[in-house]
Assembly symmetry: C2
Homo-oligomer: 505 residues x 2
């Protein structure tokens, strides 16, 4: 018999027939123990419908592994062995925090999040899903935030392709763009059985997660959110537990998964801090791989200092400043800052979705130079009613074209990641996170934002030679500005959105 071989951080999936009498989602257990030289991990499996039970495991080490699957789902244990070989290609493992403020894959490769948001792209027709994946790849996004549950909101009044539970929804033909605000999770007419999940909903999500993985894109899964007319945002604790544990059992073994406990947690009026802490406990207990965990606000931040939170997932709290506060948030919370909402490029009526591409890219640089990781989104009105922010599809704006350029600039920073250097009042200065590297390389990234100096003068010290480069963050050019010593002047084109990069020559 040929031995099963998978990659480190790949997935070993076992499909086993099992019992289906009664309610397989609530009446049985399925557990697996996976033992290798460096780890001994217990995970739960799940019922996948059609009489099939599944269990998944992501090995964190290469080498020989053995497993045993057991539980009330079956009268017999299943055991076996497999081999894990080293990762290859773009498989660098799951993303972890690195140092205090940055991210790296498990193999140590730095990861600089350049994310976007398409809340329910997975609920669209197949052709649009394919289009979304092509768009993500072209834009070089490496993270995407999206929901597991369907979304009820402005521009999102249709039905999803599937529901997470068995049952049928309320009649949505009554909805109009003016009355949909009157419907919420407590609306009448929904007939979902909150004790029976719908495996096909999750099977499809998995396919999407794996498509992202093959493109090297992290799936920032939003497990709960308030924009609901079906009742999934205000389920009783038992249904929440069933849903959370099912999600964790199904998705944890995918290396590109991040957990976002909620989008705008504070708008889930039925949920309290105790609920969020409870969900966090479920993750801590049942996700053995320790995927990244965050929780995203509408107005008040969750207490991002809570130990289970790996990084801040921030929606800005002010109309005029957002990314500009990145360094303050880093100090306040002492964790990586991911700016998951700093307004989207677009032209809809809502102020969170109608800034220019220039303004969004300005915010990207404001955040990035301060050592944070801004996020993208697009909300352009169109006849088809397909808005990237929710549905994915085509990218229509100008900002997405400039994401990869910033990513390349960040990759060129000595060491791993930037931090804010309080320096001149009228520029933003980023230096390498590693103080010693900052000193040794002399690397400085000065960003001038909306200002448009026609020159700037520099004087780091009298002795060191510095190479100066002019970065046009909008036109995506990097121009050599010579090697200098002492006090020197760099001529600039008197346009906004310029930066100057200095490095020891």
């Amino acid at each position: 018999m040929e031995q099963t071989v998978i990659e480190r951080w790949g997935v070993l999936e076992l499909s086993l027939p099992g019992k289906t009498e009664g309610n397989p989602f609530t009446d049985y257990t399925i557990l697996g123990r996976f033992e290798g030289r460096h780890e001994d991990v217990m995970v739960s499996g799940f019922y996948d419908g059609g009489g099939i039970w599944k269990i998944r495991f992501m090995p964190s080490w290469p080498g020989e592994y053995r497993y045993t699957v057991f539980g009330s789902f079956s009268d017999r244990e299943t055991s076996g062995a497999f081999r894990v070989r080293e990762a290859s290609g773009r498989n660098h493992g799951p993303v972890r925090t690195a140092g205090q403020f940055h991210f790296a894959y498990a193999d140590g490769t730095p990861f600089y999040p350049m994310g976007t948001t398409c809340y329910v792209w997975t609920q669209q027709p197949d052709e649009r899903i394919e289009e979304t994946l092509r768009s993500l790849k072209e834009a070089r996004f490496n993270k995407i935030r999206f929901c597991i549950l369907p979304k009820h909101y402005d521009y999102n009044l249709g039905e999803p392709r599937t529901y997470p539970f068995e049952g049928a929804p309320m009649d949505s033909s009554v909805l109009t763009k003016d009355n949909f605000w009157n419907y919420d999770g407590k609306s009448e007419g929904n007939r979902f059985d909150l004790t029976r999940l719908n495996p096909s909903h999750f099977q499809h999500l998995e396919k999407c997660i794996l498509s992202l993985q093959s493109l090297g894109i992290e799936a920032d899964l939003i497990v709960m959110h308030p924009y609901d007319r079906w009742g999934f945002s205000c389920m009783p604790r038992e249904a929440d537990n069933l849903y959370w544990n099912y999600v964790i059992a199904r998705f944890s073994a995918f290396r590109n998964v991040w957990w976002s406990l909620a989008n705008e947690y504070d708008l889930l009026k039925d949920k309290t801090a105790e609920d969020w802490e409870h969900y966090a406990q479920l993750l801590l207990q049942n996700d053995p791989y320790g995927h990244l965990r965050s929780i995203h606000n509408c107005v008040p931040f969750y207490d991002h200092t809570r130990p289970w939170i790996t990084h801040c997932s921030i929606q800005r709290q002010e109309l005029y400043r957002g990314a500009e506060l990145t360094n303050e948030w880093r100090e306040q919370f002492g964790k990586p800052v991911v700016l998951d909402e700093i307004a989207y490029e677009g032209d809809i009526q809502h102020g969170w979705g109608n800034i220019t591409g220039e303004e969004l890219i300005r915010r990207f640089w404001e955040g990035a130079v301060r050592g944070g990781y801004p996020g993208h989104g697009e909300t352009f009105l169109n006849k088809e009613g397909i808005l990237w922010w929710s549905h994915g599809g085509k990218l229509r704006g100008e900002s997405w074209k400039r994401i990869g350029f910033l990513l390349d600039v960040l990759r060129d920073v000595p060491g791993h990641g930037l931090k804010y250097l309080p320096a001149e009042w009228d520029s933003v200065c980023g230096i390498p996170e590693d103080t010693e590297l900052a000193r040794k390389t002399g690397y400085r990234l000065y960003y001038y934002s909306f200002m448009r100096p026609s020159f700037r003068e520099f004087h780091q010290n009298d002795d060191t030679l510095y190479r100066a480069e002019i970065i046009d963050t909008w036109n995506m050019t990097i121009t050599d500005a010579g090697v200098h010593r002492g006090r020197f002047r760099v001529e600039l084109p008197a346009r906004p959105y310029m930066a100057v990069r200095l490095i020891r020559a």
Copy 2:
């Protein structure tokens, strides 16, 4: 003998020969008492050089007046009478605060400050002064901030045409754009006699103040400032008193004078709060007309709640927000807010002088819709080294062309002045300052700033008819958007810098 007739708020000036032995600036007094039916005013005169003493009076009422001039400057008293007729033309009297947050001329005509800054325009050659006046008129500015004393600063290394005191300056040929920072009021080589003023310096300033007056422009006189290499920013108390009293005696009778105690008071390191309070006392005692009084900051605000301060003269304290805080400053200080520095349109290296015209006009609207009065400035590099901000001359930017349009919109507000209405989070709403007028007219001015909605929905109430107009604040158009009732929608062009104005139809 023909009776002297002047206009209300005009100037009666008496020129009298007098003593000159010793030091006429310090050794003599000259006082005048001016009596009319409604007022009885005592003012000081001043020595104007060439053996001539002058005394000026601005009558606040029409009718018959008598005067007596006396003091040690002469061995005999001079008496006389004159008649004051009503004001005519654009003479509406001096500007006062009106209500709590706005301004009006003494005759009650509302005054909406639309100011600019040219610190030392009066110290330039005559042709440039003429050019400045033409530019001010074309741009429809109605207030200009400028200094009485010469200025030493980046782009301001030359000598002024005159000095306020007799004497000679340090050798300025040693100055370069890189070393000028090393020179300040305590630099060596200045030989000024701080007991002897130079009347021609002030005569020329008066000519400039009167030229402004004839154009209907208020002269916001900056009496002290820190950018000095001649010693005028750090004079002893006796010299300060001499200078202040001379300034007050010469300029108070000009109706278009405002007193700005200082530009960036906090950078005058030799001066304490006690000094500023002392200068304020001199104004309170010796300016009988009660011209507007303010004091302008670099970083910390002066305590604008001080009773002698008539309005806040504000330099923004943050890089990213300024005019956006107007409503907070109104609440904090309870006085009119004049935003005398919110960065200038230009392209110099300094962050306070290199924003775009679009950004400056955006700041104007942010401040104006909140019931404040933003100020303009221009700092464009050019071969001639003539920067509007200091030297006046030609206006080169884009923002000045759009000042008059905003002024017209403010004049169209029912009643007098706007105030901020906390309403939607993603627009700025201004309503008439008078709450009853706001209610009766239904007037609302919504400003969308950098956002670019392609439509906005409105719903004031179900019964009232509203006329909607679309204001393009950049392209300066006002477009009728129909009459509506109940919930309605206004289509917008999905460009930044748009506003919507509603008024009861």
